[in-house]
Symmetry: C2
Subunit: 167 residues, 2 copies
DNA sequence: GGCTTCCTGTTGCAGCGCAACATAAAAATC
DNA sequence: GATTTTTATGTTGCGCTGCAACAGGAAGCC
């Protein structure tokens, strides 16, 4: 499932304000197509449109915000968006930011199981994904010590990203 | 602000099904009173009732669930509950579980700044609070590596607690 | 008492999220 | 290719979350 196009370009964890967003978007779409083809999943027009709406920014969007960005034609009902999001999430193409009740497109290429830390910039709203390998071990240990059998940990950190800090 | 009553009793991270819940509740209320007195904050009847509703279980409750548990008299509007919750959260007496959009009473005694890991049992719904000291360092490092200036990390882990696993 | 500050009640609204059912489109089977 | 089955989308409706704005009331301060 690894797509070279997503790994050879070493994404900064926070996309720079002047990055080549068109390419960034088309790469992600291409990755989604490849992945769905490989899994015999259907990237329908609706699902693609929702993904593109999310890719139009690196900010998490709510369902209603997505609807607004799906310009043209009739505006789909919220439930339609949620169903598309469910599909995209199941395939690791979209993440849910729990602390915002919103969604971001995933522009990284990571397995479904490894721990991802979401860094949320309070100023520009962008979301970065940092690898959480080291923290994963500590959390495993903490959980086990409590007799707890953990599934996927959820980590979200609010703060200020490098690009906003420079200003 | 440290209350001996809350520390001398070494709370298991997950309260056992047969724990002395009456004492567990009264201790928490006493702690809330002491803390508010110390800070010259007012633990009004409404705030106390909301806290007690949350203490009636170790499960996170939504605003409407809280309203239902505030039996007697007129049912307060949701906004009233949210205001009480804001107060209780500001004083560290209540935590918000983002992945559930719900709230739990805090039955531990930790400073406002140290990292807490919420363990959420998918079977019984109980929420435990584990210390996240070790993970905190790893997350700091991860964030810094991304040029990110972190504030308080949010960690929630779903899984199965020890008491549910035994069955 | 009079003033300020804080708390609660009321009304209203917007977003989130899904259940249940109906319809349409694609896949699979024959 | 026609029929059945599966899968995706549209429609309606509803309940929960969360807050803004305003009004009244209670507690503390001078």
């Amino acid at each position: 499932m690894t797509n070279p196009a997503m790994t050879d370009l070493p994404h900064a964890i926070f996309p720079a304000p002047d990055h080549d967003h068109a390419r960034c978007t088309s790469t992600a779409i291409a990755h989604a197509e490849a992945l769905c083809a490989e899994r015999a999943q259907r990237l329908t027009p609706m699902r693609r449109r929702v993904l593109q709406a999310l890719l139009s920014s690196h900010r998490p969007l709510g369902a209603y915000e997505i609807i607004e960005r799906l310009s043209g034609k009739a505006r789909p009902a919220p439930i339609t968006i949620y169903r598309a999001l469910d599909f995209l999430r199941d395939n690791g193409l979209v993440h849910r930011i729990e602390s915002r009740n919103a969604f971001v497109a995933c522009v990284h290429d990571h397995g479904g199981d490894d721990l991802v830390v979401f860094l949320i910039c309070e100023r520009c709203g962008a979301v970065g994904e940092a690898p959480g390998g080291a923290a994963a071990d500590a959390l495993q240990a903490s959980s086990r010590a409590a007799g707890f059998t953990p599934k996927s940990p959820l980590i979200e950190i609010a703060g200020i990203c490098a690009h906003c800090r420079e200003k």
